[in-house]
Amino acid sequence: MTKDLSSALRPAIVLTLLFAALLGLLYPLAMNGLGQALFPNQANGSLVRDVQGRVIGSTVLGQAFTADRYFQSRPSAAGKGYDGLSSSGSNLGPASRALVDRVRADAAKQRAEGVLGPLPADLLTASGSGLDPDLSPAGALAQAPRIARVRGLAVARVRALVAAQAEDPMLGAAHVNLLALNRALDSLSGAERR
């Protein structure tokens, strides 16, 4: 047994160091190089800039929308909400009082805005990451009357905008990217004003 052990000492130590260099340094750094060369936009976080060149977000990552003039994002348990350094779900169980209190308060807000019928589930639930970039089309459409009122647009215009931005991948679920949708909304309002 001691002979078995001592014969393993050199390969154990040497291979740990060799593989650390290969898999822990060479592989990720080579991938960095390839990624930066082939897909620099995605490799650097798919950042979105405004006309002045300031970074206003990422097409991939969600950000908080709370104002009435925007399509509002889902509740978030990432830090104080959409904290990019603290991704998390709520982790509340199905029979949790805290969950029910939160949903009841949010549901009352939706009803006050005049949303009728079953409330879209995603609008009242926190995502797994707390950084969900999307809403379901139903979750966005439920907000269309409010946005039309605040922005002085026709509800049909707002609804058409949602329909135009929505995607329905076969391998996932129908969704609409909120940053893209809200930017489209801003440019629509800007065009109307002019």
Binding site: D4, A8, R10, P11, I13, L15, L17, L18, F19, L23, G24, L25, P28, M31, N32, L34, G35, Q36, Q42, A43, N44, G45, V55, I56, G57, V60, L61, Q63, F65, A67, A78, G84, L85, S86, S87, G89, N91, G93, P94, A95, L99, V100, V103, R104, A107, G117, L119, A121, D122, T125, A126, S127, G128, S129, M170, G172, A173, H175, L179, R183
Partner: protein, 572 residues
């Protein structure tokens, strides 16, 4: 449940079945030590590694030597990562300026990654520097996976070889050669292609740190970037599951689209499917491999059906408040209910533990299936290597039980199964309930244990039960409401992960050694057939009864009580 949802699930299984033989063939070449087309490029690397390490790849090892070399290698890796994590504060590649980890957290994390568990007591973005992610964690994602596959090869040789002895001991291959070949010729090449696909789909790959953003509403947001894609690829392929970010594959930077999500699920199962075919080929009858795969897929589809059904039906407590549809708490919109339910069952059937939705917020029964999958020993496909060697332990017990029923000496794929093998198999399988239930019971009475759960009532108990199940089963997913980053949980879960990995491996290797030395016993009219429907049914029954029944009382206290509360509207 929708047509689109079921289409997704069946397409998923269909693609994997189509890939089983090709990947199985590739694995078989590595099992035999044959030359592959990749040897032109990577052959010199392999030989160079052997030369520097003083390894003779043709030197056959008995099971004791194989086990000791594997263990010592794992101890060296554990020490290395512990040092990297503790020294994080003074090492480079740390754009956020994060401090070194506390001793208990560094211990827990190093064990977690060495054992292929990838339990995350740490919070990813808030704890780990870029260098720690690459040098401390990514290497384990490769090597713990390669170790698992090497161990499966060793057991395959036990069944396949006929009277293979050296100095009176059964020999089962060379650990260093198995481990190195799998890493170089299987894991690394796939990961390179996989990483490029992930980057193209929106997964960051850079050494930059935080980007400050002024959002459309004028608020400030900090976005963390890093070498995410290179770690993500091996995290899935090696059934590791330790994410770059706290939210794991739910985080849009780890898993940005429905397509990346689908590919991530495929890559969790890919090698596990292939290894069943490799086993059949190794023992000279691929139908033996398909029979095992059939039993696994039956158990898998049963689990998917329950979880998908429950999640799609939604939470009656929220329906009362006017919320429509399925349960979306803890789920991402771009994946939806079906792809989230499928992911949860895949990741726990395999010992992956990556999550694209928070299991803690699943409906009571929808979340029970992931828990139950791990309690079965993660033998439904299972972790790379670990799944098939775990399942073969059940197969040994199944022929033993069948032998008792018909009164014959049990045989399996040409090897007589005698009392030594059966005792060792029972020993390996008994570790799971002993550790899981023992440590859960302990933590349900100790103050330090009870301080952990976020949720109250039966769901809080489920959080503790899930943590120890996940640790002992080397899964790594969690009911993440549990506050596990305390000296108590870090220490106990660390021990649980170590025992759960190696106390199964050592008896399993002992079986491999004992089988390798045995002569071939040709199949006769009296042999119990181990390829047809009867055998598949027996396997399913044995896994459920021997693997699952022990845990039913604990499930009644946790998820089942939770379900009854949920449908009555009883809140905690």
């Amino acid at each position: 449940m929708t047509f689109q949802g079921w289409f997704l699930i069946l397409l998923f299984i269909g693609i994997l079945l189509a890939l089983t033989k090709p990947i199985g063939l590739w694995l078989f070449a590595l099992y035999e030590g044959r030359r592959t087309p990749l040897h032109v490029v990577l052959g010199p690397v392999e030989r160079g590694f052997y030369r520097l390490a003083g390894v003779d790849p043709t030197a056959e090892q008995g099971w004791r030597r194989y086990a000791l070399h594997m263990l010592l290698f794992n101890v060296a890796l554990l020490t290395f990562t512990y040092a990297v994590l503790r020294l994080q504060g003074v090492l480079p590649g740390n754009p956020q300026g994060l401090a070194g980890l506390s001793p208990d957290l560094a211990f827990n994390t190093a064990v977690s990654f060495t054992t292929n568990t990838n339990w995350q007591s740490y919070g990813g973005e808030a704890t780990m520097s870029n260098l720690s992610q690459m040098l401390g964690l990514t290497i384990h994602n490769f090597l713990s996976a390669a170790t698992g596959i090497a161990l499966a090869f060793a057991l395959f040789r036990g069944f396949a070889r006929r009277g293979a002895q050296k100095n009176g001991v059964g020999v089962i291959g060379n650990f260093w050669a198995d481990m190195t070949r799998v890493t170089l010729y299987l894991l690394l090449p796939i990961c390179i292609l996989y990483t490029i696909f992930l980057i193209a789909s929106g997964v960051p790959q850079t050494l930059a740190g935080v980007v400050d953003v002024q959002t459309l509403e004028g608020a400030r947001q900090s976005i963390l970037l890093g070498p995410v894609a290179s770690q993500e690829a091996i995290k899935m392929l090696g059934t590791n599951g330790g994410g770059f970010f706290n939210a794991n594959s739910a985080h849009p930077f780890e898993n940005p689209t429905a397509l990346t999500n689908f590919v991530q699920m495929l890559s969790i199962f890919l090698i596990g499917f292939g290894l069943t075919w490799t086993f059949g080929k190794a023992v000279g009858n691929t139908r033996q491999g398909w029979a095992i795969l059939a039993a696994m897929v039956i158990l898998f589809l049963a689990g998917v059906t329950v979880t998908y059904w429950q999640e799609a039906a939604g939470n009656p407590v929220l329906h009362q408040l006017g919320v429509g549809g399925g349960n979306m708490e803890g789920k991402e919109v771009r994946f939806g209910i079906a792809a989230s339910a499928l992911f949860a069952v895949v990741t726990t059937a395999a010992s992956c533990g990556a999550v694209n939705a928070m299991h803690d917020s699943f409906t009571a029964l929808g979340g029970m299936i992931p828990l139950f999958n791990i309690q079965l020993g993660e033998v439904v496909i299972g972790g790379v290597g670990a799944g098939i060697y775990g399942f073969l332990l059940f197969a040994i017990l199944a022929v033993f039980v069948a032998g008792l029923m018909v009164g014959r000496t049990p045989e399996y794929v040409g090897k007589k199964i005698e009392s030594r093998e059966v005792k060792l198999a029972v020993l390996a399988i008994a570790v799971l309930p002993l550790m899981i239930l023992g440590l859960t019971a302990l933590s349900s009475v100790l103050q330090q244990g009870l301080a952990g759960p976020l949720n109250k009532g039966p769901h809080g108990f489920s959080e503790i039960l899930y943590a120890f199940t996940s640790a002992v089963g080397n899964n790594g997913s969690a009911f993440a409401g549990l506050t596990a980053n305390t000296p108590y949980y870090n220490g106990l879960l660390g021990v649980a992960m170590w025992v759960g990995r190696f106390f199964i491996i050592v008896p399993m290797l002992a079986i491999a050694g004992s089988l390798a030395a045995k002569k071939y016993t040709p199949e006769s009219a009296g042999s119990f057939p181990t390829t047809g429907g009867l055998w598949v049914g027996l396997l399913v029954g044995i896994v459920l009864i021997l693997g699952g029944l022990t845990f039913l009382p604990s499930l009644a206290l946790g998820p089942i009580a939770d379900h009854l509360a949920m449908i009555r509207g009883q809140l905690f």
